[in-house]
């Protein structure tokens, strides 16, 4: 039973343990931010809402349309969820859907769930939302907004597929020169279906119950700032930067790690074959000579250590930011107290 495009719900065994663990770490970090943001901005009435809407996403993934012969197009729903619920609640909903699909239907593995959530619930939801906001802020009007949603939906599916291909390659499950074109190619088409369904759904909701669209979406359409509208609003949002930072670093590490691998398999083979030898040899990790995790071999260990390094740096930065913010708040309080005295 595959209500959703099954090409993105990896079962256990298809990503190696180091890759799975690494992505669990990243996913947990980003979801922790989502939880915090969602708890802060959602009202109490949403206690049942998120659950019912998660069931909606699951049911919506059953809705198909005939493409050609026996094939049909389906919806993944990441960008739809993000636009309808906001990015943080959207990622929580998508993560919940993926978890229930794995736990109840064994659609997707348990150990690899971190990677699956990263692909569909973070890249496919938060990542898609970033693209949506970026494009939406460049123009005005409802049609432009729908266009932004269409592009974002396509991007979300395509990006999720590309990341999956890299994960497969890093896990030595599938050679990159086969996985990447296959995943990217197939999902370029699936992404079109995603875009069409997403836009049609949003247009329908807007025509019947416009009040259900987040008020900020309409503010974006009006080209105004709203209370968090526009690209500038997104830029000001600390948590957005944090999440984006974590995700971007993770992607960079994942993509570049194979170049750092001493073993000439995978990407490096492709690089050598295509004469990109020089790039492969300029090991970006020479700064830390023994950039490996004991017990793990080659590429995987580089990835894990890379990701752990990123998180370490982030923790330090976060800690520093906290201290700075606390000092600033304390100073403000003192100034206020002294001005009212």
């Amino acid at each position: 039973m595959f209500p959703a495009p099954f090409l993105l719900h990896a079962p256990d065994g298809f990503f190696s343990v180091p890759v799975s663990v690494a992505f669990w770490v990243v996913t947990a970090a980003v979801l922790a931010i989502s939880v915090r943001e969602a708890n802060r901005s959602l009202e109490e009435r949403t206690v049942p809402t998120l659950g019912v809407l998660a069931a909606f996403i699951f049911a919506a993934q059953m809705v198909n349309f005939q493409v050609a012969g026996g094939t049909s197009g389906h919806l993944l729903g990441g960008v739809l969820a993000a636009v309808l619920l906001g990015p943080w609640a959207g990622s929580i909903v998508m993560a919940s859907v993926i978890a229930v699909q794995a736990l109840v239907f064994q659609d997707g593995g348990l150990v690899v769930m971190g990677a699956n959530i990263f692909n569909m619930g973070i890249i496919g939801t938060l990542g898609g939302y970033v693209v949506y906001r970026a494009i939406a802020s460049l123009g005005r009007g409802w049609r432009w907004q729908l266009g932004a949603a269409a592009v974002a939906a396509w991007f979300a599916v395509e990006a999720a597929a590309v990341v999956t291909a890299f994960q497969l390659a890093l896990s030595d499950t599938s050679p990159l020169n086969v996985a990447l074109p296959a995943m990217a190619g197939v999902h370029a088409l699936i992404g079109l279906g995603e875009a069409a369904i997403t836009v049609a759904a949003l247009a329908f909701i807007a025509s019947v119950r416009p009040d259900l669209l987040q008020s900020r979406e309409r503010a974006i359409a009006a080209g105004g700032e709203g209370h968090a509208g526009g690209l500038r609003g997104a830029l000001r949002s600390g948590p957005a930067w944090l999440a984006a930072g974590i995700v971007a670093s993770a992607l960079v590490v994942v993509v570049l790690a194979p170049f750092a691998s001493a073993d000439p398999d995978g990407l490096e083979r492709v690089a050598i074959d295509h004469g990109f030898d020089a790039v492969a040899k300029a090991n970006p990790y020479e700064i830390l000579p023994d950039y490996t995790v004991p017990g793990l071999g080659g590429t995987a260990s580089t990835v894990v250590s890379g990701l752990l390094g990123v998180l370490l740096v982030l923790a330090v930065v976060l800690g520093a930011a906290r201290i700075v913010a606390a000092r600033r708040a304390a100073r403000l309080q003192r100034e206020e107290a002294s001005s009212t005295a």
Partner: protein, 267 residues
């Protein structure tokens, strides 16, 4: 009639069923981890792991082969690993000459592919056994006790509760669409884009109905005294027996893993 079989739980009076859900969940995940860590070609070890599942399934009074019979749906994803057979460098097994090029099947590639396929197959069986022996509600409760944030616990719980309802709504709408998809000439009219738009509208209508339902659910909760926050419940501590079971499972898995890497012959 709901077409969705929502809980794979099969009630039995068995020692496995009686185990705390936290123990079962942790052991299942650890087991899958252990299987995933097995080296390439470790077919004998994978067979041992499979036997363990069969044994546990028998102990759970489900019949030793039930997880095996129902695990086959993992197969389609297996195609993702198939290229390994042809692209992994190594000793050539045989070649398939095709029009312009030759496909080389290497021993290493075949071994790698079969390793992934069989590991995945065993892992799905472990997940199935967990589902067969643990009601979903208990599983969610276990996750909550294992510190899953409250917002996930409530989302997953409500989601599960309304999964059948919303899936049924979706099925009925798809059925109604099918009922109006007749054509005397056998040709279907309407462009691809129109079909996609109709699918999108069904999704949109589904969203509105789901949202309105969630409002009714919230009002019903208010009417029964809900005050805005779901208070996290304290869960009982694990008994000594259960800690012992966890420790035993960990020890078994660790020694199995060591044996598989050091001692059990692999291809």
């Amino acid at each position: 009639m709901s077409g969705l079989a929502l809980d794979r739980y099969l009630p039995r009076e068995s020692p496995i069923h009686a185990l705390d859900a936290r123990v079962k969940f942790l052991v299942a995940v650890a087991f899958i981890l252990a299987v995933s860590l097995l080296p390439a070609g470790a077919f004998a070890s994978i067979a041992i792991a499979w036997a363990a599942i069969a044994l546990a399934s028998g102990a759970a009074k489900l019949g030793p082969f039930r997880p095996t019979r129902n695990a086959f749906f993992a197969l389609p994803f297996v195609l993702a690993a198939l290229p390994l057979v042809f692209t992994r460098p190594g000793e050539e097994l045989f070649s398939l000459p095709l029009a312009v090029f030759t496909l080389r099947v290497s021993v290493e590639g075949l071994v790698a592919f079969l390793t992934i396929a069989s590991k995945s197959w065993v892992a799905v069986q472990a997940a199935l056994l967990l589902a067969y022996t643990t009601p979903f509600h208990d599983l969610v409760d276990a996750l909550r006790a294992l510190r899953l944030p409250t917002i996930f616990v409530t989302t997953v719980s409500f989601m599960y509760r309304y999964l059948a309802v919303l899936s049924d709504e979706a099925s009925r709408m798809l059925r109604a669409r099918a009922a109006r998809s007749g054509s005397r000439s056998g040709r279907s009219g309407g462009s691809l884009r129109w079909r996609a738009v109709v699918a999108g509208r069904i999704v949109g209508a589904l969203f509105i109905r789901a949202y309105e339902r969630s409002e009714r659910v919230y009002q019903a909760m208010l009417a029964r005294g809900f005050e805005g926050t779901v208070r996290p419940r304290a869960s009982r501590a694990l008994r000594r027996r259960e800690w012992a079971a966890l420790a035993l499972a960990a020890a078994l898995l660790a020694s199995f893993e060591a044996a598989a890497h050091l001692w059990i012959p692999a291809v």
